[in-house]
């Protein structure tokens, strides 16, 4: 059943509606609810495929469903519609306004109603797709404040990598942080790249979601085997590669592979003079889990991230 989570009237002959699909069996034998959420950043589309695939599959196999599945494919519908990362007209990152306020402006109100609707889920997956600049292997990012609750879920989600990162005041206003603070476990998935859909990653996460649902008793159908992820907290560290100069970045390695210390990751070239301005080398032996996709770089632009021992 498709329902409206929140609706506001806009100035000119239009309403803004955030909708969800609720899937549940006629007779529930499990009280639990899993929520699949995406589209906070309007330029991140990988979650669109996951939402479609999950909804389609569950509707065709509804007999195996024991609990509730809520699918929210577009928390920032204007952003998705206008290829805008943030909230158009406000130049605002939607993932910096949670938990919102029911008394606040339109966006704060939307945020508060979304939180109200999602809160109380047994598990929430907030699916992101990096941005248009970087490609990511399927991974789950966890704020260290919530690692105890979230790691057990994350390990069953069929992702390649779990990254536990430090707490930061700036991240306190994210969707996931707000829900986790309220006691609703929320996993942030990052995979693929902005403005594109990587079906293989979507299929991988789809299996992870089915497996999690099976473990939680929400689903009694197929239970896919999941992979064991790399974990940042298992005596590992993350090394950041930044562009040493402005130019056009040409990558020479395959994303998701292991690289050796001093191995060339790519070069930064100047098409005007026809010269190589600088090269980017790996400072460590490790696993390249993030790589720059967007060729234009400024000095300092992120080129990649490497997980190493």
């Amino acid at each position: 059943m498709i329902t409206t989570v929140v609706k506001v009237k806009l100035p000119v002959n239009e309403s803004l509606e955030i909708k969800k699909m609720r899937l549940e069996p006629e007779e529930k034998s499990c009280d639990k609810r899993i929520s699949i959420v995406t589209g906070i950043h309007g330029d991140e589309l990988e979650g669109q495929y996951v939402c479609y695939k999950l909804s389609d599959y569950l509707q065709k196999n509804i007999g195996f469903l024991k609990g509730t599945v809520d699918i929210y494919p577009a928390l920032n519908p204007f952003g998705i519609d206008s290829i805008t990362r943030g909230i158009p007209a406000f130049d605002l990152d939607m993932n910096r306004i949670f938990p919102g306020s029911s008394e606040g402006d339109m966006n704060e109100y939307l945020a508060s109603q979304i939180i109200k609707d999602v809160a109380g889920s047994a598990l929430v997956l907030d699916i992101h797709a990096s941005n248009i600049f970087l490609t990511e292997v399927p991974q789950i990012r966890i704020n260290e404040l919530h690692e105890k609750t979230l790691i057990p879920f994350a390990e069953e989600a069929n992702v390649d990598f779990i990254w536990v990162h430090g707490a930061s005041t700036v991240l306190e206003s994210t969707f996931a942080h707000s829900l986790n603070t309220m006691g609703t476990p929320t996993l942030v998935v990052e995979m693929g790249v902005g403005m594109r859909i990587t079906k293989a990653y979507g299929d991988q996460l789809f299996k992870g979601i089915l497996h999690l649902m099976h473990q939680m008793g929400i689903w009694s159908g197929e239970d896919p085997v999941v992979k064991k992820p790399e974990e940042s907290f298992a005596h590992k560290d993350v090394c950041f590669l930044n562009a040493p100069a402005s130019g056009i970045f040409l990558k020479n390695v395959v994303h998701g592979t292991c690289v050796k210390k001093s191995e060339q990751i790519g070069v930064i070239v100047d098409p005007l003079s026809g010269t190589v301005i600088d090269e980017v080398k790996s400072p460590v032996d490790g696993w390249l889990f993030t790589i720059r996709e967007y060729p234009v770089v400024n000095e300092g632009s992120l080129i990649g991230r490497i997980l190493y021992d």
Binding site: P11, D105, F133, V170, N242, G300
Partner: protein
């Protein structure tokens, strides 16, 4: 006046990105004044350009006191100014959300880091700031409650209002907040506008800054005495919102005194032209902020009022 490049990045197809500072006097780092950080902050840059002009005149007359140096940075972000984009050209990040910066990090972190390195040791830090909502302000000085704030000092600008503001999570990465953490006495100066230049409030701000410099013993200047500032805090501010979306017809301007029950604005239906909502003042007070866009979304904070009781 000495012109110096404080931070520089080479680009592929654009001229080098340069943050330029103008320095007056020699000696201890007394005051640093920062203008636009975002591409729409014309008024903020304009104010600084006027200060550069005035300080150059004062320096030529020998009116900068010995042993004091003043640094003015009219624009931290020429790239965004020149393409009329509010945030950073390629990745849309906001330099004023990157402080104290990181010189090994991403581009805007490097800019923030490079600039902060050049300006973190000044005794006083003044930033011409802008608000994220489109509207007009009563000129005021804003200071963040970090535990290091100095209200009495803020009064020395002689602005009509000093507004105390409790930092929200994202404020911790602004220049003002980090200046205070690094023990610079930091003040944000709000004039009336952002994108559009308002010469009257700019002149006010320039005179107030010069008055402040004079009172702090940095320059010799014979300006006006200014106001005895009233202090208010954002928590006690009354926010007035419109219930319906539509064209916004404001009846009162920022700075006006309003009575309880007075009409402030009408919301007009965008298609049918009839009045869809009337907005009345819930209190008596002074309008600190007034919405200034043709349309208003539902529940926009169209006015902020300093209640009468707060004023004294």
């Amino acid at each position: 006046m000495t012109e110096k490049t404080l931070f520089e990045i080479k680009a592929l197809y654009r001229d080098d990105f340069r943050v330029t500072g103008f320095s007056f006097g020699k000696g201890e780092k007394a005051v640093c004044i920062v203008g636009s950080m975002r591409g729409n902050e014309n008024q903020q840059m304009y104010c600084c350009s006027q200060l550069v002009r005035k300080l150059k005149e004062l320096e030529e007359k020998g009116r900068i006191r010995g042993g004091k140096e003043i640094l003015v940075i009219p624009c931290v972000n020429p790239y965004s100014m020149n393409i009329k984009k509010r945030f950073w050209s390629i990745d849309n990040t906001d330099i004023n959300r990157m402080f104290p910066g990181y010189q090994e990090g991403e581009t805007t972190q490097r800019i923030a880091g490079g600039v902060f390195d050049a300006i973190k040791d000044y005794a006083y830090g003044l930033q011409f700031a802008s608000f994220y909502m489109p509207g007009r302000f009563v000129p005021h000085i804003r200071i963040m409650k970090t535990g290091f704030e100095d209200v009495e000092l803020a009064k020395k600008f002689g602005f009509p209002y000093v507004i105390l503001h409790t930092p929200r999570p994202f404020d911790t990465t602004t220049l003002n907040y980090n200046w205070q953490i690094w023990e610079t006495k930091a003040f944000s100066i709000y004039t009336t506008t952002t994108e559009e230049i308002d010469r009257t409030s700019a002149r006010w701000a320039v005179e107030s800054v010069l008055g402040f410099l004079q009172r702090m013993g940095v320059i010799e200047y014979g300006g006006a005495a200014g106001y005895v500032s009233k202090v208010a805090s954002t928590e006690n501010m009354i926010t007035v919102r419109n219930r319906t979306a539509g064209f916004f017809e404001g009846k009162v301007n920022a700075g006006e005194h309003v009575r309880k029950g007075q009409i402030l604005a009408c919301i007009v239906d965008c298609c049918k032209g009839q009045i869809a909502d009337e907005i009345y003042s819930p209190v008596e007070g002074t309008l600190l902020f007034a919405h200034a866009e043709p349309k208003a979304y539902q529940n926009t904070a169209v006015y902020k009022i300093i209640p009468e009781t707060e004023e004294w």
